[in-house]
Amino acid sequence: MRKKHTLLNHIIIFVLAQIAWLMLMGIWIYWYVSNYIIFEKVGDQLSPQIVYDGTNVFAFVGGLVLLVAIAFGMSLTFRHLNVQLKLTRLYDNFIGNITHELKSPLSSIQLYLETFNTRYVPPYKQKEFIELMMKDSQRLKNLIDSILEISALEQKRVSHDYQVHNAGELMREIIADSVEQYQLQPNILILEGEADCKCVADINALRIVFNNLVDNAIKYSAHELQIFIKLHCNAKKVVVEFSDKGIGISVPDQKNIFNKFQRIYNKDIPNVKGTGLGLYWVKEIIKNHGGLISVSSEGRNKGTTFRIELPIYSVSKKRYTKYLLKITNKRKLETEY
């Protein structure tokens, strides 16, 4: 509520400032024109020395330019301020979500430890509880790792391992890993098509991409989980289309879905947990590969399709992919010596 008022105050101040300088400009023009008319009519009679010359025109035009520049600067500042306000709001949401994501596994671990400490737990239950604790500690680790890695990615501190791969083989390997990690039944994920072309990729980074997409498909499939992946190469790009039959994403949300801290709040969404970092991370990884990711959905309950495009090695974005390979080799050499 306070933030809404802050925004309203900013808008009011901005509008008042604009009115103030427009009025100033109006008065200035009025003053200049009226003086000009007087000079035209009686200037010569009053004093032959008073002549209207080019310096005054320069001052007038220069002043106008400066005023426009001030207005432009103010508009930019206002826009920047709004972006900051929006970011702060998203950041507040993120803090709320991250607190929840950290506290839930921690509560669970604490509960099991206190259970062991306060009552007798039969051996078969002990095993079950220890496994649950391990799952929770892994969840905590993943969450902390993701936050640290996104931060490192933003500051270009990640030592990527870019290599030339056969796109089809690489994708199949990564997708098989995701299937294993999420213990998906064989008929849940259907992989079609071929991609017999080469691309430059960091296999670990792409694993993060596909794990995030599979994780989202699981979270946002209210009824039946079904994932379709289509692979193909066109003239310049390796194209991967990742579709699910989940709850879908509305058109306005599609625009923001890759933004940092962005989360969709909808009553029909079966899972309310998350940090708003997953798809931002995915986008950043694909961007670092010189690729593009986009999302499409026909609407509610009609599923979602993510389309990933990566440049084909030696065909598209030649200089950039060479640069990726070069920095990988450079880092390797540095670590060797």
Partner: protein, 236 residues
């Protein structure tokens, strides 16, 4: 004295974190309670409509319907059931919203198992106390008002009003302590069983609602009077 009956109590656990739900279910079952688990808000309401429970252990961040919405719907069905919120949210606004909706107690995650079990026991005991007390004298006449503490319906000159559980318990507490000054902290500790440092404004809201229901002129109360700097006193 209620110990034996307490262990047969039925608890509805509404928690979408599966790992936490398993641990809680185990511990509550070990204490002798019958536990049913709901993984989201919709399921909680469905189960609650079919079965009778003695206490609800409720998370707030739930799929489909959040904990506040669940509490509201549950209160509509059974106004007197004790609700204990167990959540990662710890802002004062959330606590106040919960208390306003008639949530009885509020614990934040991560929590201590011993404390949770004690609070559950305390709430169940209070429920039994209230039940026993109202069973002996369920109807209380106050001026033109007739208060039924069993179904928590208050008949006033303006018609029937459904009291919330906390409203009924505040009133019952004041009636039981007729003629004695009861301060806000005492009410918070005995009705809500909360740390009195949290929010005494909540008590004032409840008192002002009770006055609106029962007093002929709520601005000049004759039954529930304020004692400046001390608290409230109930007189007839």
């Amino acid at each position: 004295m209620f110990e034996e009956n307490l262990s047969k109590s039925k608890i509805l656990l509404v928690e979408d974190e599966e790992n936490l739900a398993i641990g809680l279910e185990y511990n509550l079952s070990e204490e002798g309670y019958y536990v049913k688990v709901a993984k989201d808000g919709r399921e909680a309401i469905k189960i609650f409509e079919k079965e009778e429970f003695d206490l609800i252990l409720l998370d707030l961040m739930l799929p489909y319907l959040n904990g506040f919405e669940v509490a509201e719907k549950i209160r509509e069905i059974t106004p007197q059931i004790p609700i204990l919120v167990l959540t990662a949210k710890k802002s004062t606004e959330d606590k106040i919203q919960g208390l306003e909706l008639g949530v009885d107690d509020y614990m934040t995650k991560p929590f201590h198992l011993g404390e949770l079990l004690l609070r559950i026991k305390g709430m169940l005991k209070r429920k039994m106390w209230y039940k026993t007390l109202t069973a002996s004298s369920p109807v209380y006449i106050l001026g033109q008002n007739e208060i039924n503490f069993e179904n928590m319906i208050c008949k006033t000159k303006n018609g029937e009003i459904q009291l919330t559980k906390n409203e009924a318990m505040v009133l019952r507490y004041l009636i039981d302590n007729e003629g004695r000054v009861v301060d806000r902290k005492e009410l918070l500790e005995n009705v809500w069983h909360l740390n009195p440092e949290i929010e005494t404004r909540t008590v004032d809201n409840f008192i002002s609602r009770l006055r609106k229901y029962l007093e002929p002129d709520p601005s000049n109360p004759i039954y529930i009077k304020s004692i400046r700097g001390a608290g409230y006193i109930f007189t007839t």
